[in-house]
Amino acid sequence: MKMKRTSYPYILWMGIFIVIPLFLILFFSITTGDSQNISTFKFSLDNFKRFFTPVYLKVLGRSVNLALISTVICLILGYPMAMIISKEKIKKRNMMILMFVIPMWMNFLLRTYAWLTLLGKNGFVNYIVTKLGFQPLNLMYNDKAVLLGMVYNFLPFMVLPIYSVLIKIDKSLIEAAEDLGANKLKVFMKVILPLSVPGIITGITMVFIPAVSTFVISRLLGGNKYTLIGNVVEQQFLWTGDWHFGSSMSIILMIFILITMAITSKFDKDKEGGGGGLW
């Protein structure tokens, strides 16, 4: 493959900021020793052995479980929303997308923090609940709060790719289906849904990956009670200083995500791909 001269800066960039760090993580994951002193490094797979013990597997299981649920919820909420927006006139459509994106301009931490005041025991939601004469609910610092935080933060990543695929669907295909006597449900099932698969797959990837590795949401909304794999990795790097174990956990998580992606892209095989697909 011939490369233009203009592409060299990008290759350099990718080398320095993507390839080398990846190899560094791989290198750390298969060694042990004092993280700061390279002369003490010894080849060892102990880190991986340590990971495959019930404690860490349980944490991984919990992270995957929460990420899957939040991806499914995002899909259920996001698809109709993308549909509704894509059917509007172009001006209103752009307006709606803008309204959808504006909150994302605000810092992610701030948006997550805002839920603290909404969900707290004396928060806004419980204020209304008690005014209506019910017992205050326990909304904060549990797995449901973490799930809510994930869905809230990652929903736009589901809606936007699906939306961008939906608006590109050739209207004449839908008209043809209607002319041939298909009802609304049939048009959706046989035409719109299959054509939007690439968008759905991109959406799933873009929600699942950040959700499975998040540590901020579980910290702020889970009160550190619902440790996810991201928290354990963070703990190894920031508190314990064991970069080797932290790196091997990251590698395992990466392999896990790769496998998931391979499975999801299977569904996309017989389609043309394209149309906003990431893989």
């Binding site: 025991k121 009160g223 550190n224 354990v232």
Partner: protein
């Protein structure tokens, strides 16, 4: 296209602008690394103005956090505020420089009993900053039992109303004390028992928090919390329903001292800073603001009456007889890490 160009231009101007201001500051600079919410920031401004020095101030959440950051290098810090056992570890690992006492004349203001403590017996490396205890803060409106024992944190009645510290050393110490063991135990069996206690307690815990605990307790969102005494002072000031108790099984007596790490680039200025913090009027201003207890008697005299007479910040001597000062766990630090990972991963 034009718009893109103007945006790029604007960005460039911004970047150049920030770089230019960065270079323009000719004052000597020190990097101060302190616990979050642990200083009256106007004091930093006072210091900058008085000595014409620039202070870069950043914060950490726990001793372990600070230690790892320092070990990993990258940033050179000039003044740190670690606690007792961490100072012991840093001295033994040769991470600190000896202080020149001639530059820190204000150390004469520090009360005798805070000097020459076990972690730095000759006061060669550290100067006291604040001290205090660990105890239970509770909301009188929500707790009707007598709070005088760690056991209350395991009481089913307060399910989902208990807040523990998100700090491995402190939380494990609470469990050890509840079991009647020393919080400096090196007996793995006792530590394992403590771990089991913490796991048993987990279903009752509302959250494991750091500094956020203040907002939660002031807002009356939880009934009981394990806190450091200085934070308790600050919380009680905001919400008079709160009260602080030191459990009868005994607790941790801690000291946060100022030290200068080996990575310092400006030791003399760092010593000036430490000296400044020990000046009675500054120490008083600081202690008044953050609520923690200053080791400088002259400063205590300058404090407003409610804090000066506060039994939370300045307990009677017999109250703190039954306390222990943390020691560095040294070789069994991995056991602590492992216990804490197990506890936080449990569900």
């Amino acid at each position: 296209m034009k718009r893109i160009k103007s945006i790029v231009l604007l960005l460039l101007v911004l970047i150049m602008g920030t770089m230019a201001t960065g270079c323009g500051d000719k004052r000597p600079t020190i990097n101060v690394y302190n616990w979050g919410d642990y200083i009256d920031t106007s004091i930093i401004k006072d210091f900058e103005e008085e000595y014409n020095i620039k202070v870069n101030y950043s914060t950490f959440a726990t001793n372990e956090d600070m230690y790892v950051k320092l070990k990993q290098g990258g940033t050179s810090y000039d003044v740190l505020f670690p606690s007792d056992y961490m100072i012991e570890r840093m001295i033994s690992e040769d991470m600190l420089v000896k202080l020149d006492k001639n530059n820190i004349s204000n150390i004469k203001n520090v009360e005798e009993k805070f000097l020459g403590l076990d972690f730095d017996p000759n006061d060669e490396y550290s100067v006291p900053y604040m001290w205090g205890t660990v105890g239970i803060i509770y909301n009188k409106k929500m707790v009707d039992d007598k709070v005088d024992s760690w056991d209350i944190l395991w009481n089913e009645k307060y399910k989902n109303q208990i807040i523990m510290l998100y700090s491995q050393r402190d939380s494990i110490a609470v469990a050890l004390k509840k079991l009647g063991y020393s919080m400096n135990t090196r007996d793995i069996k006792e530590l394992e028992e403590a771990k089991q206690e913490l796991i048993n307690q987990k279903p009752l815990v509302y959250a494991y928090l750091g500094d956020e605990v203040k907002d939660v307790m002031i807002g009356g969102e939880a009934a009981l919390a394990v806190v450091w005494s200085g934070d308790a002072v600050a919380m009680i000031r905001e919400n008079p329903d709160l009260e602080y108790a030191i459990p009868k099984e005994g607790t941790n007596l801690w000291f946060d001292n100022m030290v200068i790490p080996k990575s310092t680039k400006n030791k003399e200025v760092a010593e000036k800073f430490i000296n400044f913090m020990c000046r009675p009027d500054i120490a008083a201003k600081n202690a008044d603001y953050i609520g923690y207890s200053t080791p400088i008697p002259e400063a205590v005299k300058l404090l407003p009456e409610d804090i000066r007479n506060s039994k939370v910040a300045y307990p009677e001597n017999e109250k703190i007889e039954n306390t222990e000062i943390f020691k560095d766990p040294k070789d069994i630090i991995q056991v602590y890490d492992k216990i804490w990972t197990d506890v936080t991963s449990e569900q």
